[in-house]
Symmetry: none
Subunit: 121 residues, 4 copies
DNA sequence: GTGGTCTAGACCACT
DNA sequence: GTGGTCTAGACCACC
């Protein structure tokens, strides 16, 4: 079994397990990982990334807490039946962060027009 | 001597000294801390925040490296004479992050119009 | 041949074979599965639950040990002639667990009256 | 620094880290561990229980997820400022479990009076 | 000293 | 084979 490429940055302050979480979250949001799809087993994922299985386990635990994946012992790990809420949450969070940043910029005296112009098309 | 409120999040992965740096950088960019203004001494800042003076020292060292503040022996610590470049850098970084986030959202299938609408005015 | 619905929770820490045991124990105690009734064969049960026959085998072995079911070679598997002791044991265990829980609640400062009220009728 | 005794059962199917969670949850619900109290550090707790620090870490992570404790890096671990909701949740769960058990018993043909009688006063 | 992360590897139960 | 737990111990940043 294979899967989409997960990219890790070992220099980042973001821990490996969280990068794995973010990557999978992103692929689910992008629709690349579809509901009920089986994903790599902990051992496979660990081998493919060159990290320790425990690190992958921690990532999977967090994803399970976020209801993005479901784990069936001795069967494997699967994308949840319903990923819509999780995806919606992620989008909401992103929109909010953009709002905050724009808010900060306007407080610094940058006009909305200027922001839009600088962001480009 | 007092100063604008610096907010610390002890749960954050961002170290305290860096949060202090970010806070002061922000207040300078916002024009709340103006050029040549004297800011709290290391000891005062440490006391007001309830953190170790070494932590504040580290923050001030970094701010000095970024030429945002200047320490004059026996006189105290002051916002630099020229904060324009530092502010410009910060704005550039913010704009870039917004760009990235918008890029991610469009990849998730959210149209530019929808993003604009959801951000509001 | 069919039978009452057996519900499995793959997320539970309780192993599948034990969940099967508990389900059948419960149906016997409830009188839904009556004495001398024939139940599904290992293969049928396995197929109907979508689990491995070995898992069902293990459950049936345990039930047989508890004298709740009896297997007659080439004939099939049946609820035992006498299920009263098994049922009585199960009730005793339940009562005990309720006692323990009430005990914990009172230690937390919840009065007997409050517990009774909150449980309802 | 010391703290209330935490009892572990190594034979139990309930993992060590979860037993630690349950113990601390219980002490908080009982009011033995009060809000803002500092609890044993990961290393101290590990030493006092004779388990690995990672096991304690996992327990503390879960408790933090349940907002029962708060961790301040380099400072230590503390009972949350507000434990009322957590305690209320725990009580609600207990009540619910009692309800379920009573429900099962009545379905087995045990009358409410009989249950009350057997539980005792 | 504190917590946070990660590795390496073991053992277990379940299927 | 799978996931679940646990140990032992390392290294790190922060304070």
């Amino acid at each position: 079994m294979s899967g989409p490429l997960i990219s890790l940055d070992y220099q980042s302050r973001v821990p490996i397990y969280e990068q794995i979480v973010n990557n999978i979250e992103k692929y689910v949001a992008l629709g690349i990982l579809k509901e009920k799809t089986q994903i790599l087993s902990i051992r496979e994922m660990a081998a493919s990334l060159g990290v320790n299985p425990n690190t992958v386990k921690k990532a999977y635990d967090i994803l399970e807490g976020k209801r993005i994946i479901t784990t069936i012992s001795t069967k494997g790990t699967f994308i949840s039946d319903d990923t819509k809420t999780a995806t919606k949450d992620k989008i909401d969070r992103e929109i909010n962060e953009i709002k905050n940043k724009i808010c900060e910029l306007t407080k610094m005296g940058i006009s909305k027009e200027e922001i839009i112009e600088r962001i480009g098309k």
